[in-house]
């Protein structure tokens, strides 16, 4: 099953009942995760140049603990 971002990028007229069920389920999961405190609300402030640089460094790292 495609992820939600990919389904959102598709022509909605081509979405199947299964696709729509998947979107609804993923949205429900995100609410459940938010209610458990596993998802941060995030900030509406745009990132500073320093934060952007740090984020791009973190993206490039490839290791596991």
């Amino acid at each position: 099953m495609a992820d939600v971002a990919e389904l959102f990028a598709r022509d909605p007229l081509s979405l199947t009942e299964e696709d729509l069920t998947h979107i609804v389920e993923e949205m429900r999961k995100s609410r459940h995760a938010f209610n458990l405190g596993n998802v941060k609300a995030g900030s509406t402030k745009p990132k500073t140049e320093k934060q952007k640089a740090l984020a791009s460094l973190a993206t490039g790292l490839d290791f596991s603990l």
Binding site: F8, A9, D11, L13, L20, R28, R31, A41, T44
Partner: protein
């Protein structure tokens, strides 16, 4: 005289006879703003993301309530309104009959960081989770039909018609309310709901709800959603209207309409400079701050002439 769907809301002398809460609020706020929007049709080049988001959100919940009241399975109704929201936020190319052409277009790009497509669908789905066991029920009319999606045209005094659209009439804790949906990017507190009293939209909804359904509607139940970066949060509030309050509102509304009609007949729409700074500033402030002789050039630069808002056109 019969009120024809989509007919002009103006009399032959140019004064407006059909009034919804949008046009009435404009006239209450500033007669010059009312003139620019209702009589000439100036509007921003790009429709506000707040209007697009709020309109689709409210329509989705309204369609859901209608479907469920008509016996459609809850999960199916949710999928259907999610699909509707996705389609309505996809900018299709249109065929000659104005129908979307499958396989064309792209997702709507919102110019607001919170009122986005993803947050819209999330807010719709989370609403149904939040109110999964909602004690509030849709009123079933004596005709057997659920009281949802009700566009009204209500003749009142002096040849005036009140018009609008009631999303839903519901029963909550043994009382009847018109239900309305609101979305905001800010935290919802008691002050948020205090902002709806006094308020012309809520008074007109209560007035119309009582008159149309002939039922003791107490006010408006407002389900508000705070749309944030990673979540949508809901609060339910109420705004009540007593008979005395409604009478007072009605007198005031008729007075406003009379002033607006007089302004139209005399072609003189005075500004209300005290309202220019309300709600983050009027969209025409940059225009009105110019000399009257150059205003039109600035209007042409910043706005477009669109179809004039028609209170007689049902949703």
């Amino acid at each position: 005289m019969p009120i024809i769907e989509g007919a002009s809301p103006f009399n032959e002398d140019g004064s407006q006879f059909a009034w919804d809460s949008t046009s009435l609020k404009l006239a209450e706020t500033c007669l010059y703003k009312y003139y620019l929007k209702m009589h000439v049709g100036w509007q921003p080049e790009r429709k506000s993301a707040h209007l697009i988001f709020g309109g689709i959100y409210a329509k989705a919940l309204e369609d859901y309530h209608k479907a469920v009241a008509e016996g459609i399975d809850r999960e199916q109704a949710i999928r259907d309104v999610v699909h509707m929201a996705l389609c309505d936020t996809w900018d299709y190319e249109l065929d000659e009959e104005g129908e979307p052409i499958p396989g064309t277009g792209a997702p709507w790009q919102s110019d607001h960081h919170l009122k986005t497509r993803g947050n819209l669908v999330r807010s719709i789905v989370w609403y149904f989770e939040q109110f999964r066991d909602d004690p509030c029920t849709t009123v079933i009319l004596s005709s057997g039909k659920p009281a949802v999606e009700h566009s009204f045209k209500l003749p009142v005094d002096n040849g005036i018609v009140f018009s609008g659209h009631l999303d839903r009439l519901c029963e909550y804790s043994h009382s009847l309310y018109v239900q309305d949906q609101k979305s905001t990017g800010t935290t919802i507190s008691g002050r948020f709901f205090d902002g709806f009293s006094p308020d012309t939209q809520m008074s007109m909804y209560t007035f119309a709800g009582k008159a149309i359904f002939n039922l003791p509607v107490k006010g408006v139940m407002i389900d508000a959603v705070q749309v944030a970066v990673g979540f949508s949060r809901y609060e339910r509030g109420f705004t009540f209207r007593s008979e005395d309050q409604l009478e007072e509102w009605y007198e005031g509304a008729m007075n406003t309409i009379e002033r607006a009609q007089k302004a139209a007949r005399e072609q003189y729409f005075p500004m209300n400079p005290s309202s220019c700074g309300n709600f983050g500033g009027c969209e025409f402030r940059n225009i009105c701050s110019r000399s009257p002789s150059v205003r039109k050039q600035f209007l042409i630069g910043d706005f477009v002439l669109g179809p004039i808002w028609n209170p007689l056109k049902s949703r």
